[in-house]
């Protein structure tokens, strides 16, 4: 009697074919237009920073897994994505040690000590960023970073200029079209607005980013900045400069929707995106920092478990007519 050894497992016996590798790969692909533009604009140093950020992030994950005696999880590209997003937020002239320290904090403190992929309460790339920004604020002065570059557009970082000079004196200096097309000083992956928007739309269509978060995030930026602008146009800039400069679009499409640190229910997603954006504009207009994206999103990562408890009632819960 030929008795085959069959595979026995539990239902469901189908899967839609998606995987963590696919998801992270798609996010990396979506980020490429903005990165390639940054490399073309800022040259080889930008490529160096991105490559170092990705490779060091992956190495930190391997080391942490060896120390923690866990199986290697490098294959799901999660750390590669963290490194990539982290590199996108750095100026092209960042020194090597800063990149390596940043990815150490991002991967090890931001992700691995919480238990690895999926367990991080904060966006790991932002944890690394916040650490660097608070420790070496001088390195994030984009005007100083690119002082040796010769560009054919206004060689000013828009948000820093806005902070130091006020809205009135920079009005007309930054045309919205120029900002969208990347004619501004900034981090490697954050200047090319059009590329970020295209990448974001790709991710939304592929189902890897929940549309509620970017949409409410952008709405929050526009509404809050517009309200400030109405109250005092000489002091506060209009919504367009806020939307297309700094880390705003990167935050809307790549940082805020990070799976593990953002809500999953509809109303919480809308609240999360909107209020994270409001917090960013508050920091920019009233706070100390010229760009509050990093801290604004981190703050609402913290609120995620709380606001995600606003959820629809489960079927048959609290029904007692049986």
């Amino acid at each position: 009697m030929n008795n085959n050894k069959l595979t026995v497992s539990h239902a469901p016996f189908w899967h839609d074919g998606d995987s963590l590798f696919q998801m992270n790969l798609n996010i990396i692909i979506a980020a490429l237009p903005a990165i390639i533009f940054g490399i073309l604009q800022f040259g080889a140093p930008a490529l160096g920073v991105i490559a170092l950020a990705v490779s060091s992030a992956m190495i930190w994950e391997i080391i942490s897994n060896i120390i923690a005696r866990q199986k290697q999880t490098i294959g799901d590209l999660d750390s590669a994505l963290i490194g990539l997003l982290f590199g996108m937020m750095l100026p092209a002239t960042s020194p090597w040690w800063m990149v390596i320290i940043g990815t150490l904090v991002a991967v090890v403190v931001g992700k691995m000590i919480f238990g690895g992929t999926g367990a991080n309460p904060f966006n790991p790339a932002l944890v690394g960023m916040a650490f660097l920004m608070l420790s070496w604020p001088v390195l994030f002065d984009f005007d100083a970073a690119y002082v040796s570059y010769d560009v054919n557009y206004t060689a000013l970082a828009p948000l820093a200029a806005l902070k130091s000079m006020g809205a009135e004196s920079i009005s007309g200096v930054f045309a919205t079209g120029d900002l969208i097309m990347g004619k501004q000083l900034g981090a490697i992956g954050s200047t090319f607005g059009l590329g970020l928007i295209l990448g974001g739309i790709y991710l939304i269509l592929r189902g890897y980013v929940r549309w509620e978060i970017p949409v409410s995030f952008i709405a929050g930026i526009i509404i809050c900045a517009w309200a400030f602008n109405l109250s005092d146009p000489t002091k506060y800039a209009g919504p367009m400069i806020h939307l297309f400069s700094g880390y705003t679009l990167l935050g809307a499409f790549f940082l805020a929707p990070e799976n593990s640190s953002s809500p999953v229910n509809t109303i919480p997603m809308l609240l999360y995106g909107f209020f994270a954006a409001v917090m960013i504009i508050l920091m920019r207009n009233i706070g100390l920092y010229s760009d509050g994206t990093v801290l604004g999103i981190l703050l609402f990562n913290l609120a995620n478990p709380l606001i995600d408890s606003i959820r629809p009632k489960a079927l048959g819960k609290g029904v007692n007519h049986a």
Partner: protein
């Protein structure tokens, strides 16, 4: 296997298959020389068995293990008992299997034993539990709540299956007769019938209420029919019977009609077989026929590491033996090639929320799976609605991290039951 489409702005849709236009008659398979019957009662060495190896049985004879047994099987053929042994099912429950050597000729002309059938629930429960389609007479006889609605399901609950639709198309009159008999037996007030939207069924239904069901999974599951058509919400942890609603499949209704007409129990079950390339076959096999015989009939070759699924792709169970017999409730058998089997991982949940958005019962599966992975079953039930799950399997189907969420949920429900029984 239906894969995710390239663009998935909305959640994925899984559609029920509809039965083909003018379906062919099912292939008949000769009654094999040995039939296996599963009896849902474990062997007990302290008690004296009523049956012995070598005993001869009549076609239609009721077989019990012990004098005080509540469980029985009906012999589908005349023959002799060759084996009585313990059987462990996929969930680890112990029961018994019997092998009967068939001594009747290949034609099924042998007269089946007739019963003294009356139109009451006790009589039906005494003889008709093993009818093709597995009518839930045991549950109905035990049930404390009065059943006032019967729902005959001509819409198959799981994907790929078309058995119920085929029977609805071919034996609607018998189903209606069966429904009327059921109404008398149970004393129900209302009879309803579910028919898939795109199934073309003509004829009068008289007092039977017809529900046209949607073609998107999981709209044919009992909880969804209650919600969409009967305006009842199934309370967490309850069964439809607790609400006074009983679901009976089309084949059971048709075989009840036959049984009351002939005063004997039928033993021929219609099964939809899905081969490795997704080819659909339909077969009429005697209950107890090993699946292997059916695969041979359709030249489906079973290799090591393939998977044989009893039931649909979302809710079925996989068996460990190609000799698993045809059972009364077995509508579909799927053979999955080893290269087609999707992998399962022990990844942690990444909180992407696909399961939450697809869940028809609004369960926070992303949080629930964390409690279940940590064996916190009571908390899972209190905080994350473990018992609201209607067991459709969609969460695990879409899981990016390939976590077996549905398996965690079934295990959680099982453990919770055990915990509550001990308390």
């Amino acid at each position: 296997m239906i894969k995710r489409s390239f663009f998935t702005l909305t959640r994925p849709k899984l559609s029920y298959d509809s039965v083909e236009q003018n379906p062919k008659k099912p292939e008949s398979i000769n009654i094999p020389s040995n039939l296996t019957l599963l009896l849902n009662e474990p062997l007990d060495n302290t008690k004296k068995l009523l049956i012995q190896k070598g005993d001869s049985v009549e076609k239609g004879q009721k077989i019990c293990l012990y004098s005080d047994s509540a469980e029985y099987v009906i012999a589908p053929v005349a023959g002799t008992i060759r084996v009585i042994d313990a059987y462990i099912d996929a969930l680890g429950n112990t029961s018994t299997f019997l092998v009967i050597k068939n001594i009747q000729t290949q034609t099924s002309d042998t007269k089946a034993k007739t019963y003294d059938l009356k139109e009451d629930i006790a009589s039906a429960d005494r003889y008709l539990r093993n009818l093709p389609g597995a009518p839930p007479f045991k549950k109905l006889a035990d049930n404390k709540t009065k059943i006032n609605t019967i729902v005959i399901t001509c819409a198959d609950a799981d994907l790929l299956s078309t058995t119920s639709q085929y029977i609805a198309l071919n034996s609607m009159d018998k189903i209606k007769t069966g429904a009327r008999i059921l109404k008398n037996i149970i004393g129900a007030v209302k009879i309803c019938i579910t028919v898939p939207q795109d199934l073309n069924i003509q004829g009068e239904f008289d007092s039977i209420q017809v529900f046209r069901t949607d073609t998107t999974y999981p709209s044919n599951l009992p909880a969804m029919i209650l919600k969409n058509h009967l305006n009842m919400i199934l309370p967490a942890g309850k069964t439809p019977e607790d609400l006074g609603v009983c679901f009976i499949c089309a084949e059971a209704a048709a075989s009840i009609a036959d049984a009351y007409e002939t005063k004997s129990a039928g033993a021929e079950k219609i099964v939809t077989i899905i081969g490795k390339q997704g080819t659909r076959y339909r077969v009429k096999a005697t209950i107890g026929t090993p699946l292997r015989k059916i695969f041979d009939l359709f030249s489906i070759h079973i290799n090591d590491q393939d998977r044989i699924i009893i039931g649909g792709p979302m809710q079925g169970i996989s068996t460990y033996s190609p000799f698993h017999p045809v059972e009364p409730g077995m509508d579909t058998v799927i053979v999955q090639d080893r290269d087609e089997i999707p992998e399962i991982c022990d990844n942690a949940c990444v909180n992407c929320g696909k399961c939450v958005r697809i869940c028809p019962a609004n369960i926070q599966a992303n949080i629930l799976v964390r409690y279940l992975a940590a064996d916190q079953y009571e908390e899972a039930a209190d905080k994350c609605d473990l018992e609201s799950c209607i067991e459709c399997g969609l969460c695990a189907y879409v899981c990016t991290a390939k976590i077996p969420i549905y398996q965690y949920i079934k295990l959680g429900k099982h453990e919770l039951k055990k915990l509550r029984a001990e308390a």
